[in-house]
Structure formats: structure tokens, C-alpha cells
Amino acid sequence: MSTLTTPSKEKKRKSYASNQEVRWCPGCGDYTILKQVQTLLPTLGVEPENIAFVAGIGCSSRFPYYMDTYGIHGIHGRAPAIATGLKTSRPDLSVWVITGDGDGLSIGGNHLIHSLRRNIDLNILLFNNEIYGLTKGQYSPTSQKGHISKSSPQGSLDNPFNPLSLALGSRGTFLARTMDRDPKHLQKMLERSYQHKGTSLLEIYQNCIVFNDGAFEPYTNKATRNKTSLYLQQDQPLLFGENNRYGVRLDGLKPVVVDLQEEEVSADELWIHDESDKTKAWLLTTFFENNFKDNLLPRPFGVLYSEQIPTYEEQLQIQIEQAKERHGKPDLEKLLKGNDTWVVR
């Protein structure tokens, strides 16, 4: 699918945009994400009345107001739980969760991990900007350790979450990473998230131009990104760098970066990406610690893991059918009576 915006595509995109004025800071990464979602939806074959966006609190969580679909702007951190009730009771709807690093990983961390393990068919978009934007710039649970912010003038002491490791540890069945600065990849990942039946977690590196500008600069800057970003492709070797100069090889369970210009390494010795391989997915999520500084492992973008297992609501439907089969039609009179009744005359 092309991401180019033709006039007719633009018209379709607008049909998913509400009449509300979008109120993010100029230059905020949220705009691209909104645009890509609005561009993607008309291509999916789902009518807007069958789509619901559910959000918590934070800059990104204003998202539902800007979509001309059904939507709930909930309370801080609770979007996955609200969406769980909506999707479980209305499996016919396409339900999207919009959350941020503070909303989804701090105050709402509990709901995020539990929806992942239940595998409810939700598309969770985690806008990670490594900062609290709406409350004007405190460090977040994904801020780098030592981050200087309003609430951490001497640097934050917390180790940041590794969101995708956390998600995999929560038995997430679809984990992907993308960034606002690569709209084409972003849209592809949105589509993959939608296609996945079960909870999909898409972490989107989103630049907060006001309070944490450049947080993902190493991965987005033309000069550095080749060296720091690894774009995953199914069945393809892990390659990155200018002209795919570097590859990743597995030495036992240890990922090793190899310089293909310097070393004699054949293609089949390299790590071939397989989304369904949980062990490899686990290793991929650990390509994380400040790797660009030390010329170490690149940060993977794309689908790290994908596994198709029955969703929560599918299994619930089966239980409902079983109950109907076992007990037949509801008989309220019988239910009220219970087992022991007596008659007073």
C-alpha cells in the first residue's frame, strides 16, 4: 500500500477527521500519527460507525476527539480497561487504544500488562515521547536515567522501562515499534497492528518538540539513523548501516554486530528475522540500552513478535454458546425460584 496522499485519498482521510480543532503544539509528532491513522482507516473496509478510539489522559489522549468515529476520552491510565469492557461486550467494533508513556506505563501500567496477557483484540498505540507533556515536562517512566526535568533538576534516578520487554513479559501477542518521523513505516505498522487479531502493542517514538525535543534524534537524524536503526523484515537477515554494511549474528544467545565489509560472513550466518520466534523476539527487545552511544546494537523497528492465538472475546463467545447449550433459553421464573421453594396459602 502506498502512503502517498493523492487528492482522493485526502478526501477519504478527511472523512475520518472530526470537526474539532486539533490542539497539539505546532511540530508535535502527534500530528503525523493522527494523519497516518486517518489515512489508513478508509483503506481497511471498516465503517467509521464501527470504530471506537479510547484514550486516557495526556497529550496523545486527545486523539479520539479528532477522529470522526466513536470514541471515549477516559481517565488517566484506564484506556485499556475501558476498551476491554467495550470490546468484550461489542466484539463487532474495531477498538483502538491511544496512550502515552505516562498514561500507559506509569499510572495505567497495570491495565496495559493485563490486557496484553488476556489478548483482547485491541490495537494499542503507545505514543512514547519519554516525557510528561500535558503536565509540562516532568520525567516519565521511559525517560533516560539522569534525565534533567522540572521534577528532576539533578537528573532522574529511575531506570526507564523497556516497553517491549515488558509487553513480551506480559505475554503480548503482537509487538512492534515505529516512529513519527517515518510516516511510511508508521502506516505499515498501523496496518499490521490492525490486522493482528489479539492485543497489538505498537510503540511509536513520538517527538515532543516542547519538552523533550530530539529524544529520538539518533534514530531519526539522517546522519546517524543508519547506524542506530534496524528495520526488521520477515525472513530477511538483520542488516543496518549505510548500504547495509552491518549485520547481526547470533553467537549462541548473544547478538553480535558484524561489519560485513571487514569480516567474511555469509548471509546465512546472519540472524534471519522470524516474527514468530519468541526467543529471538525477546533478544530483539533487549537491543535497548543506549546502544547508539557505544556503537553497540541498533534499535529494531518493525514487528518484533507476532503470534496468533485465540482472543479473549472469541473464547468468551464460546463460553456463552456453551452456557446457552447447557441451560437453554433464559427462564427467569425458574431462576428466581431456585431449588427450594414453598407455598404459603
Binding site: I57, M67, Y70, H73, S89, I320, L336
Partner: protein, 617 residues
């Protein structure tokens, strides 16, 4: 010696023993048989607070009290006439609930040295002897030995035989109150269908207990309790929690709406989750959430999708839900919150009762956040009030808090079965314009009807696409609005919507006594039975006291102020440190006195009666 047959009007029996002794089953069997015999009754199980308290210890004692009679019964009884104790710990834990001169039926095999030590009685003490000296009648039975003797030919192990001890005792008590054995025989046969040898053993132990009572003449008196004058109809016994479950199932049927229960296990509310999870074929989805907040917010999500969202919990859990209750107030979606109150604050006394969450229900949220608050007055009334909560939530698009408590949630009483066809309708304000119709008028999610209720438009309809959220909304459109006048207006609308419910609820009536006079007692919630009994006794003694009981706490009945003004004095008994009393003072500027007990137990009738009489001195 021959046995004297006597008639009694009201009797209270308390079974007690170790939590492994099957006390609750014994009690519920005795209750069912009593109900089938036509008596009115009220029961209260008293569970140990600790699940795995050491066997034989006072902490591990489980009790079950039943009050029954040939007249109307409103409480499980302040104290009992007969106390069954299976061991020394049970005696220690329960002797204070026995009336002076009452009967102790003691299993002597539970009073060995080891049992005394476990119950922390002094080694040299003789608690049963002491009890006898203080005027109680003591009936000693070697229950363990006799049960083993009774079952010696069954081939069961000693351990298995000992499990039938409770049935032996039940047989004895059945004889004492002239009860038929058939209902329990039927029950045991069906319960142990797959293990007929266990059913047989239990039945034999019970029959032998009955015969033992005849043969040995352990009692000098035997009692008959005539049937009570009960309104004709079909009845069953019901606990408050079961009644909540049935009411929700009923509301699902009459409203033709799916129900979504989001819940997190908590004592004493978990039975509601258990009960509803068995009713998937009634269009009821239950979701055991990761926490209290997810429990309620998932229910809100489901409400947006067109279900009746329900969440059940107890006070500490409801505290965690308060932000979400406020969200539902802003979203103006139907939401039913069942709070089975327990003694607080904090973890408090989880298995003990209290009605101290009234303030929480009325006020415990950020912002001006009016919701409807109802309270059930008895186990069976949990049905009526939960049904009413569903109706108000749906028809008025508002969160409704239904207050129950541990006492009525676990306690049971006979319930006259409603006629399904007589259940009043629940009419959701669903708005579903024809999608292909020519009507192009825009949809206003925050327009209102004459009761200030907004339309409920659920996803799936092209013409009603809209977003809602916790931010203040513009009147009509529901768009975000920071306009000061709009906020003023919307705050007022939310309150007027809640207040408009008052037009739909019954006017307050006097339950006992004249509609004016020197003293009015005002109760709410589970204290109904105790207050009613105290009032009736005081009135019989000539005191001109009246009684009214509130089931609607927010909004209050429209005529309540007028009703209160016709009395010289108002007394408000509550199982809290004084909450309704403030509401009445605040709302009606009336002089009110409180009668407040917080011992984790229902109000004692005799104490309340004394307080009422005191008002006349």
C-alpha cells in the same frame, strides 16, 4: 420422666463449632426445614475472619444464628435460646450470645484437655461446669463417639465418619423443635448423588441423633412453633448477595439489554461475581478485572457500547473507583455500583458489618458529582433495590450506588417470589435514527429530555457518531468546552438530572406508628429489622413512637422534610459514627439525635429499645 411439649412464639438457635465442622451447612439446613414448616425467620452466618485459623482455636470458630417464629421475624435475634457448641473454642467465642438460663448443647468430645488448651482456657478450668453454675442449662452429648458408633458398619474411615457429626447434632435439634427430617434427607441425597455412601452416612447420623434425643430424654421439654401469618405466595430463602444477582438478571431480561459486570474479588461482595458468572446465557458478561479501577472502567466501556454496566465491591474497593464514578457522571452513562459495606476504615473488619459508607456514596468524589444512592433494608430487599438501581441508572443515564452490607449480604430470610410478568419495565433512552432515512438533522449527544436525560446512542449507527470524555462538555454538542457559563450550566444540569429522579421514586411513608407525634425513628439500610423490632416492642409497652425507613438516600423522597417536621423529636440509629444524621440536619435543618454502634454487628434490639424509651423520660 416424660417430656413436656410446649408451644413457643419465637426461638433463636445458634450453631457454632470449628470452621471444619460444617456449621454453615447445618444452619442452612435447619433454616430451610424451618421455612418449609411455615415459620418466618431471619438468619445470620458469622464466619471466622481468618480462612486458615488453626483448628480448635477461637479464631477458627464459625457460627450460624437463626431466629424463627410463629410471628413476623425481622432480625436474626440479639441473643439465642439454644447454643450448640462443637468444641471449647465455640463455647468461648459464643457464650456471651446466649440468653440467661439458655440451653447449651455441647459436644463433650470437643472439651478434652487439648481442646481447652487450643481455646486458651486455663488447664484446670471447667468452662461447661462454670456455665452451668451461672444458670445455663447444660446438655452434654458425646457427639463424636455416638456418630462413630452410629456409622461403625458403614465401612467409612474415622475421618469420614467424623464429618457427619454435624448431622447427628442437627438430628438432635430437629427433635427438640419437632421438625421433619425429610427436607434434609432430600437435600443430602441430591448433594451426594455421586457418593451415595456419604449421603447414607449423613442421613443415618441425623436419624440416630433424632432417635438419641427421644431415647435418652436428654431434654425435659420439646417445643412446637406454629406457622407464622405470612402473606400467601411462593417463597424461597435468599441472601442479599443472591438477591442482587437475581435482580441484575431480571433487569437484563426486562430491559432487553446485555449486562456487563466488571468486578474484583472482595469480601463480602464476591458472591455477586460468582453468581453472575454462572448466568452467561442471560446475556450477562462477567469480567474479573485486574483491580477495582479496571472493574469499574471496563463496565463504563461496556455501557458506552450499550450494556448495563455494573460493578460490585465493598467500601475500600469503591474508594478506588471514585474517579471512575465521576467519569461516568460526566459521560452520563448508566452504571450500577453495588457496595456491600463492611466495617472500615481501610481493611477494617472485612467479615463484619457496618453502614459507614453513606458519606462515601453521597460525597466521596472530586468535584460536584451527584449520583443516585439507594440502600436495601434486608436480604430480600436487595432484589427490589438492585432492580430499582438498574432501572434508575438506565432510564436516567446516571451512576447509581446501591448500598448493601455484610449483614444482609450473607444473612437470609424468606422472599416472596415476584411474578415475572409484574416486574415493571425498564426503558432505556436508546437513540437509533434510521441510517438511510432522509433525516439529516445533526445528533446532539448532550441534548436532554424533560428529566434532563441525554440520549443513549451506541456505536454502530452512522448518524450518531460522537465522542464523549471526562472533560467538561458543551451543552448539546458534547464538544470540549472551557466556557465558564457552560460549566455552571452543566454542573446544574447534572444536579437537576439527579434531583429529577425524586419525581419517580415513592413518597416516604411511616412504617410504624402515627404520622405525627413525640418521636420519629429514622433508619436506612440493613438496620430495618432491628429498628422495626425495637419499635414494635416499645409500642407494645405503650410508647408513642413512630418509624420511617429510607431506601432512597439521593435524591431523598420529596415529602421527607414535611414528614420529619410533624414530630417533636427525631432519633437516627446507624451502624456508623453518625452519617445520615448529618444529611438530615443539613437538608432539613431539623434537630436530630443519633444512636450509633460500631461493633461490626447488627444493632441489638434491646439496646435500641432502651434508647427509644429513654427519649420519653
Amino acid at each position: 420422666m416424660s417430656v413436656i411439649e410446649k408451644h413457643k412464639k419465637v426461638v433463636t438457635v445458634r450453631f457454632s463449632g470449628d470452621s471444619g465442622d460444617g456449621i454453615q451447612l447445618t444452619g442452612s439446613q435447619f433454616s430451610n426445614t424451618t421455612a418449609l414448616s411455615g415459620n418466618d425467620l431471619s438468619t445470620f452466618p458469622d464466619y471466622p475472619a481468618e480462612i486458615r485459623a488453626p483448628a480448635g482455636s477461637v479464631h477458627g470458630v464459625s457460627a450460624f444464628q437463626i431466629n424463627f417464629g410463629s410471628q413476623r421475624i425481622h432480625t436474626p435475634g440479639d441473643s439465642c435460646d439454644v447454643l450448640v457448641v462443637m468444641n471449647a473454642a465455640a463455647l468461648k467465642a459464643n457464650i456471651t450470645s446466649l440468653k440467661p438460663g439458655g440451653i447449651i448443647i455441647a459436644n463433650m468430645d470437643g472439651f478434652g484437655k487439648k481442646d481447652l488448651a487450643l481455646a486458651r482456657y486455663d488447664k484446670t478450668s471447667d468452662p461447661l461446669g462454670d456455665a452451668k453454675k451461672s444458670g445455663f442449662q447444660l446438655i452434654k452429648i458425646d457427639v463424636t463417639k455416638l456418630t462413630r458408633e452410629s456409622l461403625k458398619d458403614t465401612g467409612l474411615s474415622t475421618k469420614e465418619m467424623d464429618r457427619s457429626k454435624n448431622m447427628f447434632v442437627l438430628g438432635v435439634v430437629y427433635w427438640l423443635y419437632n421438625r421433619p427430617l425429610d427436607p434434609t434427607i432430600e437435600f443430602l441425597t441430591s448433594k451426594f448423588k455421586s457418593k451415595p455412601e456419604i449421603a447414607e452416612a449423613n442421613i443415618k447420623a441425623m436419624k440416630d441423633g433424632y432417635s438419641f434425643a427421644i431415647a435418652t430424654e436428654v431434654f425435659s421439654e420439646r417445643y412446637t412453633i406454629e406457622a407464622a401469618p405470612i402473606e400467601p405466595g411462593s417463597y424461597r430463602n435468599i441472601t442479599g448477595n443472591d438477591a442482587v444477582v437475581l435482580a441484575i438478571a431480571s433487569a437484563a431480561q426486562t430491559s432487553d439489554l446485555p449486562v456487563f459486570l466488571g468486578s474484583y474479588p472482595i469480601t463480602p461482595a464476591s458472591e455477586i461475581l460468582h453468581g453472575l458468572s454462572k448466568l452467561k446465557h442471560y446475556g450477562i458478561t462477567t469480567f474479573q478485572a485486574e483491580d477495582e479501577i479496571a472493574a469499574i472502567t471496563s463496565a463504563i466501556g461496556a455501557s458506552y457500547g450499550g450494556s448495563i454496566g455494573v460493578t460490585s465491591s465493598s467500601g475500600p474497593g469503591v474508594a478506588l473507583k471514585s474517579e471512575a464514578i465521576a467519569l461516568a457522571t460526566m459521560l452520563e452513562l448508566p452504571l450500577v455500583i453495588i457496595n456491600v459495606q463492611r466495617a472500615g476504615p481501610s481493611t477494617g473488619l472485612p467479615t463484619k458489618t457496618e453502614q459507614s459508607d453513606l458519606f462515601q456514596a453521597l460525597y466521596g468524589r472530586a468535584g460536584d458529582c451527584p449520583v443516585a444512592v439507594l440502600a436495601a433494608r434486608s436480604p430480600a430487599d436487595c432484589y427490589a433495590m438492585t432492580y430499582e438501581a438498574c432501572k434508575i441508572a438506565v432510564e436516567h443515564m446516571i451512576p447509581v450506588i446501591m448500598l448493601s452490607d455484610g449483614y444482609i449480604a450473607n444473612g437470609a430470610e424468606p422472599w416472596k417470589l415476584p411474578e415475572v410478568k409484574d416486574l415493571y419495565a425498564i426503558k432505556p433512552p436508546l437513540y437509533r435514527p434510521a441510517e438511510n432515512g432522509s433525516d439529516a438533522s445533526p445528533f446532539f449527544p448532550y441534548s436532554r429530555n424533560e428529566d434532563f436525560v441525554r440520549p443513549w446512542a451506541i456505536p454502530g449507527n452512522k448518524k450518531t457518531i460522537h465522542r464523549i470524555g471526562g472533560l467538561e462538555k458543551e451543552d448539546q454538542t458534547g464538544n470540549i468546552s472551557y466556557d465558564p457559563d457552560n460549566h455552571q450550566h452543566m454542573t446544574r444540569m447534572r444536579e437537576e438530572k439527579r434531583d429529577a429522579i425524586a419525581k419517580k421514586i415513592p413518597l416516604q411513608t411511616i412504617d410504624e406508628g402515627p404520622d405525627q407525634g413525640p418521636l420519629l425513628v429514622v433508619g436506612w439500610g440493613s438496620t430495618y429489622g432491628s429498628i422495626k423490632s425495637a419499635i414494635m416492642e416499645a409500642r407494645e409497652e405503650g410508647y408513642a413512637v413512630s418509624f420511617t425507613h429510607l431506601k432512597y438516600l439521593s435524591p431523598l423522597p420529596l415529602n421527607l422534610g414535611d414528614l420529619l417536621s410533624r414530630f417533636d423529636k427525631i432519633l437516627v440509629p446507624e451502624i456508623n459514627n453518625g452519617q445520615l444524621i448529618h444529611v438530615l440536619r443539613d437538608t432539613y435543618q431539623v434537630q436530630v439525635e443519633g444512636f450509633n454502634k460500631v461493633r461490626g454487628q447488627p444493632l441489638k434490639v434491646h439496646e435500641l429499645k432502651a434508647a427509644i424509651i429513654e427519649e420519653f423520660s
